[in-house]
């Protein structure tokens, strides 16, 4: 908690994130090479799905990250509403486009996987529909940020919408258990352990870590940009106030001491 409080200082955050960014991006690049090597040259084709299983190495990390970034936004929303943590709103705003992009990747790759396996690009299945709803919530949140000019007011409205929208996350996760769906059930995060063979599991996990680190790097850059945007807003307001002051003083002097 002390570390998080220390990060609340934007100057300290800028210094720390600036130092970490090249390392995170570099590590992500190395893991992408290892993960994709494993996905294409080490992992075998699936006995049922054949070579299309290669899509799993991007589809599954994208789905995890789409849900992870929404969960991160929910925690940030609580931080912004309850503790008014200065960086919570910044983290929340920066996460939305990244989460939306991964939700879009998940839907696109899912459609391209579904066509050869199910015979259709799209079906109004519970898992697919709830993921589409997640993308729409992300887009609504991004639109709401742009609708309200004042960042604190926008942050409060977005936080409430984010908290309400979180109900969709467990629906996505458990949709394959609650309803009879075309989508396969969970095969990695299960009570009785992963059902994927280790030769396919390790490239999947390496790809997931690579995508996650890359997404974290993008999130840090987006947070730094948002901090700068808020500083620019403050400086612009101060400059406008300063520009108004001499005029007001000149006006008072022109009216003279009669009043």
């Amino acid at each position: 908690m002390t570390f998080i409080n220390q990060l609340a200082n934007p100057t300290r955050f800028m210094a720390l994130s600036g130092g970490l960014l090249p390392w995170i991006a570099g590590l992500s690049g190395i893991l992408f090479i290892v993960g994709f090597y494993g996905a294409f040259f080490s992992a075998p084709a699936d006995y049922q799905q054949g070579e299309t299983i290669r899509i799993m190495y991007i589809h599954v990390p994208a789905a995890w990250l789409a849900m992870f970034f929404y969960s991160l936004m929910t925690v940030s929303a609580i931080g912004a509403l309850v503790w008014r943590h200065p960086l919570a709103e910044v983290a929340q705003k920066a996460a939305a486009p990244i989460g939306a992009s991964f939700a879009l990747i998940c839907l696109l790759t899912g459609a391209l996987w579904g066509r050869p396996m199910w015979g259709t690009y799209w079906v109004w299945d519970a898992r697919l529909t709830s993921m589409l709803v997640l993308l729409l919530i992300y887009l609504a949140i991004m639109a709401l940020w742009r609708t309200i000019d004042e960042p604190t007011q926008a942050g409060r409205a977005v936080s409430i919408l984010t908290l309400v929208g979180f109900i969709n996350i467990p629906i996505i996760k458990f949709s394959v258990d609650w309803w009879n769906t075309l989508h396969q059930p969970a095969s990695v995060f299960r009570m009785d352990g992963p059902s994927i063979h280790p030769t396919m599991l390790w490239p999947l996990l390496v790809c997931a870590v690579a995508f996650s680190l890359f997404a974290v790097a993008l999130h840090l850059v987006a947070m730094r940009t948002e901090i700068m945007r808020r500083r620019i807003r403050t400086l612009t307001i101060l400059a406008a106030d300063r520009a108004e002051q001499p005029g007001a003083q000149a006006g008072m002097m022109a009216r003279g001491p009669a009043e």
Binding site: F40, F41, A45, G50, E51, T52, R54, I55, I58, H59, A62, P97, I98, S101, L104, I105, L108, T109, L112, W113, R115, P116, F214, L218, V221, A222, R224, T225, M228, R229, R231, I232, L235, T236, L238, A239, R242
Partner: protein
């Protein structure tokens, strides 16, 4: 890796779509960051100019 078989279009299409989305997101985030950096430098410069002698 052997040949991607009869579904190569869907596999390659998935990777290309992912690359396109990630590339667009990265370019947008970096371009926004650079634009704000320039704007902030300009404002700082103007403010220091106003504070000066």
């Amino acid at each position: 890796m052997t040949a991607l078989g009869p579904h190569a279009f869907f596999i390659i299409g998935s990777y290309l779509a992912t690359f396109a989305v990630i590339a667009a997101l990265t370019i947008w985030i970096i371009a926004d960051n650079r634009a704000r950096k320039r704007e902030l430098a300009r404002l700082d410069h103007r403010q220091h100019g106003a504070d000066g002698p």
